[in-house]
Subunit: 396 residues, 2 copies
Amino acid sequence: MNGFSVVGFNWESSPAATELEIVVMEWLSKLLQLPKSFSFSSDSGGGVMHSTTCEAFVCTLLAAKEKILDPIGRDKAEKLVVYCSDQTHFSFQKSVKIVGINPKNIRHVLTSKSTNFRLTPQSLDEMIKRDVEVGLVPMYLCATVGTTSTTAVDPLGPLSEVASAYNMWVHVDAAYAGSACICPEFRHFLNGVEGASSFSFNAHKWLLTNLACCCLWVKDKFVLTKPLTTNSEYLKNKATDSGHVVDYKDWQISLTRRFQPLKLWMVLRSYGETGLREVIRKHVKMAKDFEELVTLDKRFELIVPRYFSVVCFRVCPYVIGKKYDYDPEANEFNEKLLESVNATGCAYMTHSVVGGVYFIRFAVGATLTEDRHVAMAWELVKNQATSMLYTPTPKL
Amino acid sequence: MNGFSVVGFNWESSPAATELEIVVMEWLSKLLQLPKSFSFSSDSGGGVMHSTTCEAFVCTLLAAKEKILDPIGRDKAEKLVVYCSDQTHFSFQKSVKIVGINPKNIRHVLTSKSTNFRLTPQSLDEMIKRDVEVGLVPMYLCATVGTTSTTAVDPLGPLSEVASAYNMWVHVDAAYAGSACICPEFRHFLNGVEGASSFSFNAHKWLLTNLACCCLWVKDKFVLTKPLTTNSEYLKNKATDSGHVVDYKDWQISLTRRFQPLKLWMVLRSYGETGLREVIRKHVKMAKDFEELVTLDKRFELIVPRYFSVVCFRVCPYVIGKKYDYDPEANEFNEKLLESVNATGCAYMTHSVVGGVYFIRFAVGATLTEDRHVAMAWELVKNQATSMLYTPTPKL
């Protein structure tokens, strides 16, 4: 099910769709133990279902932009600066371009292996200071819980403190890892989210929900909806005029909306919090098992510690007679290994590169994955590596 | 069916989804007799399935913006002007704000009853000239085939001629009425589309397809994708590198995509062009019947001629003893009439206001509507009006 066809642009056009969305977003917010300031039960908080993180970025960027330009004037628009780390998902950069921020003013703060590719408050603060000194205006920070390459977790509390000193909007993108935080043992990864202005995660990634379902909460719905609100004669209606209903068209890019909450409602009602936590825990356990298998084979190494259900690993450079971490031949070897694994058609893994190091990403997340698949995947990797290591390059 | 859950961000992640989308967009383009320049078979044309018109606006506005700013420099961004009519759908204004165009530079060219609320080339040209004289830069024109309030049709050919003299991007928004143009007898409403840069219509409005399905074609896919293209290590793949595949992530706002073409493919295969034309013709015929009933009752009048399946009508001011077209009491009477019709729960109509005149919109478009519903709807309107006209206001 992917959301019934309901023209739910405003409350009146489909009260059930809107009311169910509010209910579902409140349930989810409790499941994630989000601070009350993000809830409809607070003065100005609330949640909305977008399609993708890109949409959440665009809408919160617009809100932040209007909020900051209102008092200082539109002519300062070219001076606005947004911050993220070099590990932030590239859709952030795309969204920044969409809302018309000067592309020169996107700061990708460098991360390093020494901090497991986390964005550090110090390096953020230094970069902001340099920008402020030359007359630029810091506007928005995108922090990530579970980066795409290595599932790194940015320290939300300390980062928000830095950003709040400059009156910036802080968005927390937990697209993938947010789902894990419904388990009490993983909730600590969201510590500090109370300092953020907005938070989003994708239920379609790891919460058994069909594409596309990005859940976004904001602390100030009035700021969010201001740049997105439109009025037109043919949409005038008594419910909107009363001020007592939510018109979700003003919380997103498009006017038209599908009956999205139904699919998430179905998932929540079918599995319940216990069932959903079981799924997450099972996946994490399987990734942990894979991680252990990797560490037991001395030819392999982990690139970063595993937090969730993604294992980042590679064949160590020394195995192919190389000394340095970022040796090009080590990268090439691992690239070929990944290709040969995927070419079997028995498993599909992906890659990334951080700090010049090419590595393989093993991710558990499909509902049908079982222990035996994990064991099989590892056998496959191990055997392909063995055969590559002991097969001499054919001489032509 | 609302599009399977496929993470089709680039070609490689789901070749079938991309290839089917190309096929479906080409079929539709033939059905609409779009010029070859919008087709993948041309040097640079092509089509993509967005969710909503808002998305098509945002993406084409970004393309137009980058195209025009590239040679003259980003510092001219505040001078860019976009044009539409006072009848253009308000999502255009929202989209313009989203991409960071100065809201002061949106020109809503006035239309009037004398031209049936069409945007005239003369008034557009005059407005552009005034802007150019004060140093502003015309960038984008949104022309509409089938406006929301009255289904007015802007003259595409003459408007494109004016716009092309200023090197502007011309987008044709045929959200509702585009579907009708699959019938040869309605295709003339698209005459002149060959002068446009892009064209979109919503298959979810009147082509039996589930929400949300906005079909967009452009003449220059390279200009469209330039501001939307992103690259990242973890998305690198041989198919993209070959340059022979379409990565639809660069044709839209978001990265993630659903398997949208399947639903349109199903509709096209199930109904065929004959079946789809039958549906359109049946709806238009029913609206025409309603229109005839309105004109036979001298107490009522049409606000504009009916082109498609929407009838715009009201009780004439003289019936309640008023002389002027835009009499507030005539407006109030028709507003009450609409409320009383909708309050019966037997039919649902909407309203709009053009040129100060409040009127009722009767729209046929649902698959289950039959002649008897139309007759019943008219009886309802007639009887409610009769009872309102002969019921004295109760004295308290």
